[in-house]
Amino acid sequence: MKNFAYINAASEKAAIESMSDKALALAGGTNLLNLLKEYVLAPEALVNIKGIAGLNAIESFEGGLKIGANVTLSELLDHAEVRGRYPALHQALYDIGTPQIRNMSTLGGNLCARPHCWYYRYEYFDCKKRGGQGCAAIAGDNEFHAIFATDGPCVMIHPSSAGPALVVYGAKVKIAGPGGSRDAGIEEFFTLPAAAVARENVLKPNELVTHVLLPPPNGKSATYEVRHKESHDWPLAMASVALTMAGETAQEARICLGAVAPVPWRAAAAEAALKGKVVNETTAGEAAQKAAEGAKPLSGNKYKVQLVRTAVKRAILAAATGRRV
């Protein structure tokens, strides 16, 4: 890792003033430090944001929750309301990394984490995200890459497991920058590589995620992921589902896929297919088929299409029954 200056930011303002494309925010460091060690990123400074007051609390907010960006994944997992009212989020966080990683990782860091594409992380390969000319993944081994939005300049999958759950709950992201603070809808927060290949979200180099706002849940929800227990486990495909139920019938369905596209991937066709239907094996299976429509897998990851179907079906059934399938 290259030498860097270390700046301890005591306030949001101080952090924002120090941050730039050469001075990166440091939260738990579980993602950033790896990239530094691998020479993927070589910033001149790290701005420690963990000392900023007010960013590490989970508070009640308009019937839902206001979660500080520095809250760790472990703290979220231990929080009674997250567990009780937001099962899709709880289940999504549950399998991330290891206890040590979850103790360090923050929610803000999870939303802003950089891709774990093995070509991005390996200096010998060409990578547009790292400023190169081509994408080694397109012709290379791409079994863990995107199956949606694969025509863009980068076929990464977004690494955040929390993302899809936050999407189905309709969360907002509070962003602080030099000009003050604004709220972005979670779906607007994540951006496709076609918009700007070097980054994964709307943040400018001197902007900070300060909070995530979760509205009150209205219905049942669940996350199912297929995770092959390979290496330190990243999901291969996951689905978060939130259903507004009337008896056995889904009045509304929100379905979002993870680990299959450069952003959490909303499965609108699947939502439409389920809407107004009695939820059972058959309707869940039909919605799952719809969720996989439009997939354009790469040379080596057609298998993930099947996994999307499996994850969606099982997530729907898990949400409806409250049981893991």
């Binding site: 390996y122 092959h228 290496s231």
Partner: protein, 821 residues
């Protein structure tokens, strides 16, 4: 077998006692046989206080609390740091190398390439496997004009800090002319394949064959001949501690000291002396704590020679290099990587008559120490625990543009066991027999048992271990429940493996280097006991076992024993820790040395107590004291007398230490039965392990806790090979699985609950009766798990799948089977 302590043994006290007056010798002989005769541990110590007990590991307190010292924890004054520029190409010519900018960078002391180093350090050596016409390419410690795998060292920067060194590596400009690379060993054998080494005729490094019995007859008599291709994929050993080296050369003293994370300090010292053209007397190798090796530190590495040479260039300042994880994955030896074409001659009742095995071993770009030897072990162990009369392995060792392969936990035996245990299941499936019955039908039952490949198995009772495992797993009930699950459409499978392996390497005649092991037991004037062992533990717990043995022999507490290892300046000589040899060979040396110390202490006690000849012949140890008649001396008092020098018995000399070199008469052959139940998810192909039962037999158990630890860890690694792990190179020879985020070692959460038991079939190869257990888990588990998955898929008509059984592969097989008519 009792004549193991043969000509090659050297014993100091043994020699001395040979000069004792006749009478004294005779009376001593009555009390206890002379030390040169075989005495079994359990005869000498019928009621051990420590051996056989679940004693906690002595080393754990310091290791668990982070108080141990690994190479990276050593900080010497004035130390310089080395970073290595490595090849980004699988195969390329170095057209030019521009180092000026790096040399001028701040903090840089020097930049070195082949031409600066070659006069100081020769090629990386190999242990000669005795294979005729072995092709051995030039293997310099820094690339000589050409690089042959990704990660090969090309230049080294020495700097005041690690950071300065690493930054300067980026300033070296190398112009490479990429050459065609070959990564597939079968393609590498094609006549028009690109050559890995231009100076060699082709990519075939060696051919080797082992055969025995009448194959023609076997294949003529067979009801059916089953063909199967099997692969043991390339694995990365992934020791938790990466490699690391510190070297310092003291010009005045002409003394090179090398601290390195190795399993074989003494062998390394000899080899370094050859590479550096320094006599061994001027080379000291120290292995501090070693954080795992699994065979990957059973080697002599380019970096060990390189750092030694650099130390001479910057003498007397020490130089330090610590391997990064990425380097470890790319440039520390890999394991396995064999493709086998099998022909099996089998009868309808499940009897196997003969096996032909044509093996291609992808050895990577060079020979490391045992690269060629490891796959020959696969051929030797092909018979497994079965008595089929005819077998043949032909082996081709093939160069590719990849990291060399070498020993990895099991080293040749997991491959053999995978083959033979798959064979048993293939035969069972072919004739619709229970795999248990097929195994029973074929078991070797008379010992010593001679295999068609020329080995003599010492002792065994394979059926006993199998029966115990079947009971432990409730095999019958499980099969019944499996049938029900199948009726419900679930894919549940039960697999087993009844392995035998070859351990306690080994008799010197069967080894490339010596196969003995040495130990010194030394008692100080105040009675503290040091055991110096030539083995070099890296996680096994030898400190504990050797202290158990010594304390029991000498009648003292384990705390009084300090086990020293890993320092050639301290331990007289040694071979090292590998091949599940440390307790069987090194532990025996400790036992023999301790026994000799005990004999002398008895004599000293008798002399000091003024005992009569009759009393002297019956000195006993009770409550930590030496008793002659009614008088006694404490252990420390006897030790003091031995050093004080006033009452030295006739024919003895002052001092209290014994050194023993134990040469085993044979290998040992531990065995066991592993059973596994899995369920496969039809929609995703995921395998979940529902139960695991293991009965292992490693001879006399020295410490059940340590055995469990070895078995558990071994099963984890075997499970890794069966389900997750694979070193993947892309077509151009780039290593894709170059970090632990990409290379899939199993985690704690992937481990099933293990139900482990033991049977005890002592060996007669050594006086401890112990066989070895370091690799058993790895060897036994992989086929049990794979057999279980294939069994789960049997209703779909699937007969074999290659490892790792990753979900996608399994799902595709399911899909293909469903589509088939």
């Amino acid at each position: 077998m009792a004549k193991t302590a043969g000509k090659k043994s050297v014993t100091r006290t043994g020699k001395a006692s040979a000069k004792a007056p006749r009478r004294a010798r005779q009376s001593a002989a009555k009390a206890a046989p002379p030390a040169s005769q075989r005495v079994d541990f359990f005869k000498l110590v019928p009621k051990p206080r420590f051996v056989g007990k679940p004693v906690k590991r002595k080393e754990d307190v310091r290791l668990i609390t982070g108080a141990g010292h690994y190479v990276d924890d050593l900080r010497l004054a004035d130390m310089l740091h080395v970073e290595i520029l490595r090849s980004p190409h699988a195969h390329a010519r170095i057209v030019s190398m521009e180092v000026e900018e790096a040399r001028k960078a701040s903090g840089v002391v020097g930049v070195f390439a082949y031409k600066e180093i070659s006069s100081l350090c020769g090629d990386v050596p190999l242990a000669h496997p005795g294979i005729p016409d072995l092709k051995v390419p030039h293997h310099p410690v820094l690339a000589d004009g050409e690089v042959n795998f990704v990660g090969e060292p090309a230049a080294a920067v020495v700097a005041e800090s690690r950071y300065a060194a690493r930054d300067a590596v980026d300033l070296i400009r190398v112009e490479y002319e990429p050459l065609p690379a070959v990564v597939d060993p079968e393609k590498a054998l094609a006549p028009d394949a690109p050559k890995v080494h231009k100076e060699l005729a082709d990519n075939l490094s060696f051919s080797w064959e082992v055969k025995g019995g009448d194959l023609d007859e076997a294949f003529k008599k067979a009801d059916r001949i089953i063909q199967q291709r099997v692969r043991s994929q390339r694995l990365i050993p992934c020791a938790l501690e990466t490699r690391g080296v510190i070297a310092q050369y003291l010009t005045g003293e002409e003394q090179l000291t090398v601290w390195t994370s190795t399993q074989i300090p003494h062998i390394l010292r000899t080899q370094l002396s050859g590479m550096l053209k320094l006599p061994e007397s001027k080379v000291r190798v120290v292995a501090p704590e070693v954080g795992g090796g699994f065979g990957s530190k059973l080697n002599v590495y380019a970096e060990e020679g390189l750092l030694s040479a650099l130390a001479r260039l910057v003498a007397p300042r020490p130089v330090k290099w610590i391997e990064t994880r990425r380097e470890n994955m790319a440039a520390t030896t890999h394991g396995r990587d064999q493709i086998g074409e099998l022909s099996i001659a089998a009868c309808a009742d499940g009897t196997v008559l003969g096996v032909k095995h044509d093996c291609i071993a992808d050895i990577g770009a060079y020979h490391q120490l045992f690269t060629a030897i490891i796959p020959t072990l696969t051929g030797l162990m092909l018979a497994g625990s079965y008595r089929f009369p005819a077998a043949r392995t032909t082996l081709k060792g093939v160069f590719t543009n990849k990291m060399p392969t070498d020993a990895y936990r099991g080293a040749g035996r997991p491959e053999a066991t995978f083959i033979i245990e798959r064979i048993m299941d293939l035969v069972a499936a072919e004739f619709n027999l229970d795999p248990v019955e097929v195994r029973r039908k074929n078991f070797a039952r008379k010992f010593p048992f001679s295999t068609p490949t020329g080995l003599a198995y010492d002792t065994g009772d394979y059926e006993k271990a199998l029966n115990q495992a079947l009971k432990l797993a409730d095999y019958q009930g499980r099969r019944a429940r499996q049938a029900k699950a199948r009726d419900e459409g679930r894919l549940v499978g039960i697999g087993l493996s009844t392995y035998v392996e070859i351990c306690s390497m080994g008799p010197s005649k069967g080894m490339a280097a010596g196969g003995w092991e040495s130990a010194t037991v030394r008692v100080s004037p105040t009675g503290s006991v040091e055991v110096l062992t030539g083995t070099c533990a890296h996680g096994q717990g030898q400190e504990t076992v050797f202290a158990q043995i010594t304390a029991d022999v000498l009648g003292i507490e384990m705390d009084q024993v300090k086990v020293q290892r890993g320092d050639t300046g301290n331990v007289p000589w040694g071979v090292g820790t590998f091949g599940s040899r440390a307790t069987a060979v090194g532990g025996t040396a400790v036992f023999e040395a301790a026994r000799r110390v005990l004999e002398k202490m008895k004599k000293v006690a008798a002399a000091a107590l003024g005992a009569s000849a009759a009393q002297a012949a019956r000195v006993q140890i009770k409550n930590g004291k030496f008793w002659a008649g009614k008088k006694s001396l404490s252990f420390a008092e006897v030790a003091f007398q031995a050093h004080r020098g006033l009452v030295i018995p006739e024919g003895e000399t002052p001092g209290l230490e014994a050194t023993y070199f134990f040469e085993p008469g044979n290998f040992t052959f531990p065995f066991g039965a592993h059973i596994c139940q899995v369920e496969v998810d039809r929609d995703t192909g995921e395998v979940s392990i529902q139960g695991y039962w293991a009965v292992d037999d490693c001879g006399k158990p020295m410490n059940p806790l340590l055995i469990d630890g070895q078995v558990h860890g071994g099963i984890a690694q075997g499970l890794g090979q069966a389900l997750y792990e694979e070193a993947v190179y892309d077509e151009s020879g780039q290593l894709l699985t170059g970090t632990l985020m990409d290379y899939a070692v199993p985690k704690a959460t992937h481990m099933p609950w293990l139900h482990c038991e033991r049977t005890e079939t002592p060996t007669d190869v050594n006086p401890l009766g112990v066989k070895g257990v370091g690799e058993a888990g790895t060897i036994g588990s992989t086929p049990a798990i794979v057999n279980a998955v294939i069994d789960a898929l049997r209703p779909l008509g699937i007969k074999h799948l290659d490892m790792p059984l990753r979900p996608e592969k399994v799902w595709r097989a399911i899909k293909k089977a469903a589509a088939a008519p």
